[in-house]
């Protein structure tokens, strides 16, 4: 079972980049130290667990995603989603925005399925963000929620057989 941890967001905009902090925390639980600042690196945390980070999802992400059995997308959200920690199973479903090149994880899965014939099982774990200024420091609330997200993701990975 090959699992991909796929975090995305802008770490220069505080809580928007919480996914990087979560990725580092998960990697640390498996004894791997990721750099302080993401370099678009892909890291093999274990033989079956890989992590990657991006500012945002892109069409090319679909090819990468299609090579895994399970993908855990990690993101942030605002008050438009009620839960402080949102976990949801995702299906492949094309979604577009009229105003930007924004790509959602569902779209990424849809592209993987359509272009490469395989959409992995996927969940999204998103953390409530509170502050989105020009800083790399998480708000206190989001930092606490990030710790919960790390625990939840580790349990999910372990229950997936890794």
């Amino acid at each position: 079972m090959k699992i991909l941890l796929f975090g995305y967001g802008n770490i220069d905009r505080q809580d928007d980049g919480v996914a990087w902090h979560v990725l580092r925390g998960v990697a640390e639980r498996y004894g791997v130290i990721l750099p302080v600042f993401p370099e678009e690196t892909t890291t093999e945390i274990t033989e079956t667990l890989t992590s990657t980070y991006a500012l945002q999802l892109t069409p090319e992400s679909a090819e990468w995603v299609s090579q895994f059995d399970k993908v855990i997308f990690i993101d942030a959200h605002t008050g438009s989603i009620e839960e402080l920690l949102h976990v949801e199973e995702l299906g492949s479903n094309f979604q577009t925005s009229p105003f930007t090149h924004h790509l959602t994880p569902q779209t990424c899965l849809a592209l993987a399925e359509s272009l490469y014939g395989k959409a992995p099982q996927a969940i999204i774990v998103s953390v409530r963000g509170y502050e989105f200024g020009f800083s790399q420091i998480l708000s206190a609330q989001t930092r606490e929620l990030a710790m919960q997200a790390i625990r939840k993701i580790v349990i999910y990975i372990d229950q997936s057989g890794d």
Partner: protein, 476 residues
């Protein structure tokens, strides 16, 4: 009398996005429509106090959509601040990276964002009017489109070490040479990229021929046009002087981009956070202009690569001697630029200086102020820095590409709404046309943030008392 107000609002995480409001009159026709932009401009303030040499790595974080454009504009402004013009090989490599950005951005826009509207139809079921529908209709084309974008991205990552926030251009030059194996690797993708763009041009021309009626009534209006040109009014995406023409095609100005404050001013409206740049001498709104592919194509007379130049002649023959005003022709213009960018990659790779290691001018003649101007995929981008004697930023002014098109996008929304929406019930296909009017400009309002989930579009029809009479929601 009952009036209605329709709102199209993408639900986003924070600032940096837009909504459309359409105000209906008592007869059920559109009275007027606006595009409201809630763009966050705090980044300029954020840069104050930073060092000029840091700006090429800081400013790309404004946006994940066109980080290379900000990276290079910042480096160009830094060249000026330090009085250190880069050696020729460094400029060639910067231009090569920029071509990668143009290819990936234009490729993605046409094939994956605008393509579904054009190829599957504005009135097609939204469930299939998307890139997945496009894949089902033509899987081979879709894969070619992804590979075209990848070709552009790999140029960027080869030079910059990463695709999104490159570390490459520095004031006075660049910090990495291209080696022959990398040159050969990039060139190995050239022919396929060229074929894909040619195919795209065939598609858009076929579509235009079949949809002439729509093209001729879809947001066609006069403005000025602005873009960078070199000698002979040759379109240039990396460097050159700024050429501004009027709605009749006559040159208004040809000026050094560093003097932009003498020519360009910004108007403020109380319904949008994004300012409206205009040509000072004509005032607002008479002096508004369009940038991006349509603006550049109209503001120039020729292109420096043969296939794109030939295609430009076909483009300009649609309205001989005058600008092309049709908003939907942004798409055709965009593909001609993509063709030029792919051709230019081959030209640059073939230049004897491209493998040179003379990459950095270390002899500074410090000036303390600098302007960098470049053609980002979606239009002309200015970075202007004022620094103290230590190279610490005191003030920053940015005029971003999408800002230059602000008036035109709102006008396009107004025009399309008036043309297509009448009667009491607003159909989904009509809503999509309004979106398409914005999308044609390929605006970037992202401000480096994103949102969980998609951005559902909600259209609300309200009567004068604010009672909801109709709702269209798509994509939740």
């Amino acid at each position: 009398m009952v009036t209605q107000k329709i709102t199209i609002e993408p639900v986003t995480r924070i600032e940096g996005h837009a909504k459309v409001t359409i105000h209906m009159n008592a007869d059920g026709n559109v009275d007027h429509a606006y595009l409201h932009v809630n763009e966050f401009r705090g980044f300029e303030k954020f840069c104050e106090g930073r060092m000029v040499f840091e700006m090429p790595t800081i400013t790309p974080r404004i946006c994940g959509i066109c980080p290379v454009s900000h990276h290079l504009a910042a480096a160009k402004a830094g060249d000026e601040v330090y009085g250190a013009p880069p050696p020729r090989p460094a400029n060639l490599l910067r231009e090569l990276m920029h071509m990668g950005q143009i290819i990936q951005s234009h490729g993605m826009h046409f094939f994956e964002l605008a393509g579904p509207d054009l190829l599957l139809g504005f009135d097609a079921d939204p469930a299939i009017r998307n890139v997945v529908g496009l894949i089902q209709a033509n899987a081979d084309l879709a894969l070619k489109a992804v590979n075209l974008r990848k070709f552009g991205q790999e140029i960027i990552s080869t030079l910059g070490g990463r695709r999104v926030h490159p570390v490459f251009a520095v004031p006075g030059g660049v910090n990495k040479a291209l080696v022959s194996a990398e040159r050969d690797q990039i060139f190995s993708g050239y022919h396929k990229a060229l074929d894909t763009v040619k195919l795209g041009i065939q598609i858009i021309k076929g579509w235009a021929e079949a949809n002439q009626e729509d093209i001729n009534k879809f947001a066609v209006f006069p403005t000025g046009y602005l873009g960078l040109v070199k000698a002979g009014n040759t379109l240039d995406l990396y460097d050159g002087d700024v050429r501004l023409i009027d709605a009749a095609g006559q040159q208004l100005e040809l000026f050094d981009g560093r003097t932009y404050l003498d020519y360009i001013a910004e108007h403020v409206e109380n319904w949008s956070y994004l300012k409206f740049p205009y040509y000072k001498k004509l005032g607002f709104p008479q002096g508004v202009y369009r940038v991006g592919p349509l603006g550049r194509m109209n503001a120039s007379d020729r292109m420096s690569t043969p296939l794109a130049d030939a295609e430009m002649k076909v483009f300009k023959a649609m309205n001989p001697g005058k600008p092309i005003e049709n908003t939907l022709h942004f798409h055709y213009a965009r593909l001609i630029e993509a063709l030029h960018a792919v051709e230019k990659v081959a030209v640059l790779l073939d230049d004897p200086d491209i493998l040179s290691t003379d990459l950095l001018n270390t002899r500074h003649n410090y000036k303390g102020e600098g302007v960098g101007v470049i053609e980002a995929p979606r239009g002309t981008l200015w970075h202007h820095y004022w620094a103290n004697e230590n190279g610490q930023i005191q003030k920053v002014n940015l005029i971003v590409a999408t800002g230059n098109n602000n008036w035109a996008m709102s006008k396009a929304v107004d025009s399309v709404a008036k043309t297509y929406i009448n009667g009491q019930v607003v159909r989904e296909g009509l809503l999509n046309r309004v979106e398409a009017a914005v999308r044609a400009h390929d605006p970037c309002l992202s401000c480096s943030t994103h949102a969980v989930g998609q951005m559902p579009i909600v259209v609300e029809v309200l009567d004068q008392q604010g009672n909801l009479t109709q709702t269209i929601t798509r994509g939740e």
